[in-house]
Symmetry: C2
Subunit: 144 residues, 2 copies
């Protein structure tokens, strides 16, 4: 397995882009995120670290991290985009409670299997997929 610490730097070098302190700081924060996050959250955490990186750079770097397959957008039917760190993680689906908003990550081989068949059937080359299932969690079902 490649060293995760250098994956973004390598990606940038490979495409002739620069490895700047701003990009390093943003990548560091992203690597520290254990769950889903939004652009604003990165910005806030950078501020906590006394960094003065601008929002513009945060958004710009998010796009680069997406292009590098380090994060991917996960959309939860809200207005702003959520991301998740996918470095070294198994591809998974999301189960979301409509009432309390709790998010559970799960993996089901049947789903991967069905997707693989669909890609084959329509002659598509696979890139990525998202599965978002909504419902009511046990607690919220009781809470009439």
């Amino acid at each position: 397995m490649e060293d995760n610490k250098d994956i973004f730097k390598s990606f940038l070098k490979k495409r002739g882009s620069k490895w700047t302190p701003e990009r390093k700081a943003i990548f560091d924060v992203v690597r520290s995120m254990r769950f889903h996050f939004e652009a604003d959250e990165l910005f806030f955490r950078l501020r906590q670290r006394k960094s003065k990186i601008s929002k513009g750079s945060v958004y710009r770097t998010i796009k680069l991290l997406e292009a590098a397959d380090i994060i991917r957008p996960v959309i939860f039917t809200e207005r702003h985009t959520h991301y998740e760190n996918i470095l070294g993680r198994k591809h998974h689906s999301h189960l979301i409670c409509r009432k309390c908003g709790r998010i559970i990550e799960f993996f089901r081989p049947e789903i991967s299997d069905g997707l693989k068949k669909a890609y084959r059937e329509y002659g598509f080359k696979e890139i990525d997929h998202k599965v978002e299932a909504t419902g009511l969690c046990r607690k919220c079902q009781k809470k009439k």
Copy 2:
């Protein structure tokens, strides 16, 4: 099967809301949409029909149609929300070409099966789900 023409009217009556000409006009346009659409598209089509319904009413009515399970949001990683008419349609997944944007709707029993298992495993009561698979269609694979 219930008469689709009256489903929205019944829904509104049942909850003590009014059946207005504006809501009827918007529902008519929605019923005429064969594929995915955005709020703006409804607004534009209403204008073509010489209707002067405001954007506010379009957005408000979209929410009601969602609550009535007549349309549902389908999110394609873009900034604005897309909807699809689900009246009398089988639940399906989307396969999207990253290059040309082509969207294919498909159904795979393995996916329904995997989702059902996930809902059961985590004790969730099912509401809805979305599956969005992205890749490159046959044509775009060739077009290096």
